[in-house]
C-alpha cells in the first residue's frame, strides 16, 4: 500500500486500477487510454484517503462510533454522521498527500493559458457492487476555481462516504466499513465551443453502417433537450465520409459565465447559423471517436461530446458520456432484405433481380 501514488492523471498512461481509483476515475483512465478523451484531470487516489484517515487517527475512531450505532435511531445516526464528516473536513492532511495533490493541481493548470474552473467528483470503490448502488450519494462540485476551493471539496467528497444515508445503507445491507475508501476526480470544466451527440448508427432506420451527428454551438444541453435545431450529419462509418448533411437553425447557445459559475443563453449571430458548426476535420474527429467508443464497448453507442475552447486544435474534442444506444439495440442490425435467398456462390436470380429492379421469385 505504501508505494501507491496519491494522485494519477487520467492521461498518464498508468494502468486503470479500480481499487486505487474508484469506479469513476478508473473509467476515465480507461476511456482516455482507449482514445476517448474525457475532460482532462487527475484522480486523488484511495491511497491519499487511506493515508489521511490513518494519519488523522480516524480509522479506529470511526469504527468505534459505528460499532454501537442503532440503525433505527435516526437522530443518533445523524449525529454520528455529522461528527465523522466534520472530522474528515477539519483534521490535518499529511504533508506528503497535500504536496502531491498541490503539485498535480499546478501541473494540471499549467496546461492552460489561464486558470480553468474544475469539477470535483467522488469516485467510490464500492459503487459497482451489485445491488449496492450508491447512486445519488456521490458528490459532484462544479465550477471550482483555485486550489483552496479544490482541496476543500476533495475533503467534502471524502466526507460523503459518511452521510447518514450512506451509513444506514451499509448497516442495513451488512456491508462492512473495513476497506472502505474513496478516490476523487479533479477534472476540467468543459468550456464547450461546439457540442452535441453522435450515435453510431442511423437512428432513423437502424443502419449500422452510419454514424449520425447532431452538433450545435455552446454547451450540449440545448441539443439534448431539443431547444435548438442542431446541424445534422450522417456519415459512413467505414469511410468516415459525409453521406448527408443538414444545416440546423442553431439560433441560440449556452455558454459558461465563469464569474457567475453558471451557463448563460445567448443568441447566435445569423452568419454563424448558416454554416456548419463543425469543420470537416472536426466532423471526422467526432465520428472517429464515436466509432472507437462503439468498438470499445462492443455495441452501438450514443455519445455526448464537446469541443473545448481551452484546448488546442486537434486535442479539443472531449467525450462527455457514452452509453449503449437503446432504440434499435434489440432489433436485427441492418435493414437488409430478409427474403434474399442465401446461396453459396453467386446467385443469378439475385443478379437478375438487381438488373430488373425486381425481387427474385
Amino acid at each position: 500500500m505504501d508505494n501507491k501514488p496519491y494522485v494519477q492523471f487520467f492521461d498518464s498512461g498508468s494502468a486503470s486500477e479500480h481499487d486505487l481509483l474508484g469506479g469513476k476515475c478508473a473509467s476515465l483512465v480507461t476511456m482516455t487510454a482507449a482514445g476517448m478523451p474525457v475532460p482532462p484531470g487527475f484522480a486523488v487516489t484511495t491511497a491519499a484517503y487511506d493515508a489521511f484517515v490513518d494519519a488523522a487517527g480516524l480509522r479506529d475512531e470511526i469504527s468505534a462510533k459505528l460499532g454501537t450505532l442503532d440503525p433505527d435511531d435516526l437522530v443518533a445516526v445523524d449525529s454520528v454522521s455529522a461528527g465523522i464528516r466534520d472530522a474528515i473536513c477539519s483534521r490535518p492532511v499529511p504533508d506528503a498527500v497535500r504536496s502531491e495533490v498541490v503539485a498535480a493541481y499546478d501541473a494540471f493548470q499549467a496546461r492552460f493559458a489561464t486558470e480553468v474552473p474544475v469539477a470535483v467528483r467522488s469516485s467510490a470503490t464500492a459503487e459497482d457492487l451489485p445491488g449496492a448502488s450508491f447512486a445519488g450519494q456521490q458528490d459532484t462540485y462544479l465550477w471550482l476555481i483555485g486550489l483552496d476551493s479544490v482541496l476543500k471539496h476533495v475533503r467534502a467528497c471524502w466526507a460523503s462516504l459518511y452521510t447518514s444515508r450512506a451509513i444506514l445503507y451499509r448497516l442495513k445491507n451488512a456491508i462492512p466499513d473495513e476497506g472502505l475508501s474513496m478516490a476523487v476526480a479533479v477534472q476540467k470544466m468543459v468550456n464547450s465551443r461546439v457540442s452535441g451527440v453522435a450515435i453510431t448508427m442511423n437512428p432513423t432506420n437502424g443502419d449500422r453502417s452510419k454514424i449520425a451527428i447532431d452538433a450545435s454551438y455552446g454547451v450540449g444541453e440545448m441539443v439534448v433537450s431539443g431547444q435548438v435545431t442542431p446541424d445534422n450529419l450522417l456519415l459512413d462509418k467505414v469511410m468516415l465520409t459525409v453521406v448527408s448533411q443538414t444545416i440546423g437553425a442553431k439560433h441560440a447557445e449556452l455558454v459558461p459565465d465563469f464569474g457567475e459559475g453558471r451557463l448563460v443563453e445567448r443568441e447566435v449571430p445569423p452568419e454563424r447559423r448558416v454554416v456548419c458548426s463543425l469543420s470537416a476535420d472536426e466532423v471526422t474527429e467526432v465520428a472517429s471517436m464515436a466509432k472507437r467508443a462503439e468498438k470499445h464497448y462492443g455495441c452501438p453507442q450514443d455519445v455526448e461530446w464537446a469541443l473545448d475552447s481551452d484546448l488546442p486544435a486537434g486535442e479539443s474534442l472531449l467525450l462527455l458520456q457514452s452509453r449503449p444506444e437503446t432504440v434499435h439495440s434489440g432489433k436485427a442490425a441492418p435493414p437488409a432484405k430478409s427474403a434474399t435467398p442465401t446461396t453459396p456462390g453467386f446467385s443469378m436470380a439475385g443478379i437478375t433481380a438487381t438488373l430488373t429492379n425486381r425481387k427474385p421469385s
Binding site: 459512413d236 467505414v238 459525409v242 441492418p334 453467386f346 438488373l355
Partner: protein, 609 residues
Amino acid sequence: MTVTSSAMKSFPKPSALTVPPGAEGWEKLYPYNLVFQNLSGAEDEKFWFCDSQHWPTVFKPFETIGGEFAVKCLGQYNTRHLLIPPANGIEFKIHLGYLYMSPVPVPEAEIPARVPEFERRAGHYFQNWDTLLESWRTKVRATIDEMEALSFDALPEMVPFEDIVSGKAKDGSEKLMENYDRLIQLLYQNWQYHFEFLNLGYVAYLDFFGYCKELFPGIPDQSIAKMVQGVDMELFRPDDELKKLASLAVELGLQTAFEDTDDVAGTLERVGAREGGGQWVDAYTAAQDPWFNFTVGNGFYGHDKYWIEHQELPLGYIKDYIRRIDEGHQIMRPVDELVAERDRVIAEYRELVDGDNLALFDAKRGLAATAYPYVENHNFYIEHWTMGVFWRKVRALGQVFADAGFWPHRDDMLYLTRGEVRDAIFDLVTGWAVGSEATGPHYWPAEIDRRRGIVEALSSARPQPALNTPPAEITEPFTMMLYGITTEQVQQWLAGDESGADGVITGMAASPGVVEGIARVVHSADQLGEVQEGDILVATITAPSWGPIFGKIKATVTDIGGMMSHAAIVCREYGLPAVTGTGSGSTTIKSGQLVRVDGNTGRVEILKG
C-alpha cells in the same frame, strides 16, 4: 438555395442547333447511316446524350470507325449474346461532329422471357470466368499479332520475274486491298472481343453495388469501388514500368544522361555509353513490348500519340521520376497500404452484415472482385495496344497514298471515310496498272482541304451535353454505370448556366479527401508539361497514360466521368481527392486560381481568382 422551377426543361432539338459558320454541308463527311436522317420524326423526339467521355473532339471521317465498332459491339452483347433483361444496346448518331447516344430499353413485357436465357448465358461466363478470360487474352493477342504482320507497301515498278515463272498471275495490288480489308476486319474482331467480358464485369459490379446500397442505404460509391477494385492492375503497368526504369537509372547512377530526353536517340546513346548503361538499355527495350503500346489519348483518334513511336514521352516521364527519386520522393504506388486499406474496408462492412446475409454479401463481392478488374484491364489490350497497332498501319497506308501523290501528308487519309479509302485503293492500283494517272491526286487534295475546313469549323463549337427531352427518370443501369448519366446529372446539365456562378462546382465524389491548391487547367495531353508539383489538375477528361502526372498533383477535377472513370480510379490509387463529372470544371476554373477540392462531397470551390 431554393429551387425556382420544377418544370422539366428540355435540351435543344438536333434540328434546332445552328451549324457553325464554315461547317455547312458537314453531314456529307460521314456515312449516311451515322447522321440523323429522320429529323422530322423520332430522332427529333428521342433523348440523346453526348458521349464526350470517349469522343471529346470532332470526328474526322475515318475516325468514326472506333465509335461505330465500339458502340455496335457493346449493343450486340446486351441484345444478342447475353440478352441482358432490361437493356438492349445503345443507338448512336453523329451530329455536328460529335457522338450522341440513346440507350434502347427492352419493352417491359419482353423482359421476363429474356431472363432464363440471360441467366444461362451470363451464368456460364461467371462460372468459367478465369478459363474464358485466359482464352480471351490469347485470341486478342493473336488478333494483334496478325494485325502487326499486315504491310502496306508501294507497288513495284514491274511484277517480279519469279511471279512470272511461277505463274502467279497476280500483280500484288490485291495484297493492298486484302490487307486493308483484313485490317478493318481484325479491328472489328478485337472490338467484338472487347465487349465479351465488359458488360458482364459491369453486371457483377452493379449487382454488388445494388446489394450494398440495399444493406447500407447511402453507402458511398467509393466504398463499393474500393471493395472490388484490383490493386495490381495491368492498366498501371506501363506507368509502373517507367518507375522501375527510373529507379534502375538512379541505382546505376545514370541520372545525368537523361538531361535532354527530347533527343531520344542521343539519350539512349548517352545512357548506353555509361557503365551499367547497357543493362538499363536492355531493361528499357524489354519494357517496350508490350507496355509502350500506350497512348496519351484514349485510342479513338488518329492523331493520338503512342509511347512506342514517341519515346520522348516515356523518356520525359522517366526523367521526371528520376528527379523525384533524387528529391527523396517515394514514387512507387503504396500497393501494400492500398491492399491493407481495401481489406480494412471489406472487413468493417462485413462486420455490419448479419449472419443470414453474410454469405450473399461475400458471394456478390467475390464475383464483382473477380469480374470487375476486367473493366479496367481490358483497356490496355484494346484501346491502347490494338488501336495503337491499328493507327500505325493506317498511317502506313496513308503514306503509300501520299507517295503516289493522292495527298500531301499520310494523316490526310483520315479525312476519307473507310469506304472511300477502299475506293481510293482501287483508284490507286488502277492508275498504276493501266499506266496512266490515278484520279485521286486530282480530286483529293482540294477535297481534303475542304473537309479539313469543315472539321475545324465544327471544332469551334462544344457539343450539347444532350438533345431533346430527357425521361423523368434515368433507370437504365448501364447508362448510369458507364456514362454516369443519372437523373441528377441530367438535371444538373439542364441547370447548366447557373452552375459555377457562385464559385462552386459540383460533381461526383470519386476519391476522398479535401485539399486546397492552385488549379492547372489542361485541355490536351500536350499541355501536361505545364503541370507543376502540388497543382490541382483540372481537365475535360484524363487518360491512363497521364499516370506520371498523378505523382505530382494534389487532386483532380474532371468534366466527364463517373466513379469508375480513369481519373477516379487513379486518384483512389494515389490517395488523391477527385471530383469527376462536373460538366463545366475545365471551362469555369481558370489556371492559377486557388481552389478547394472536396472529394468527400463532390464539391469544388473557387477560393481566389
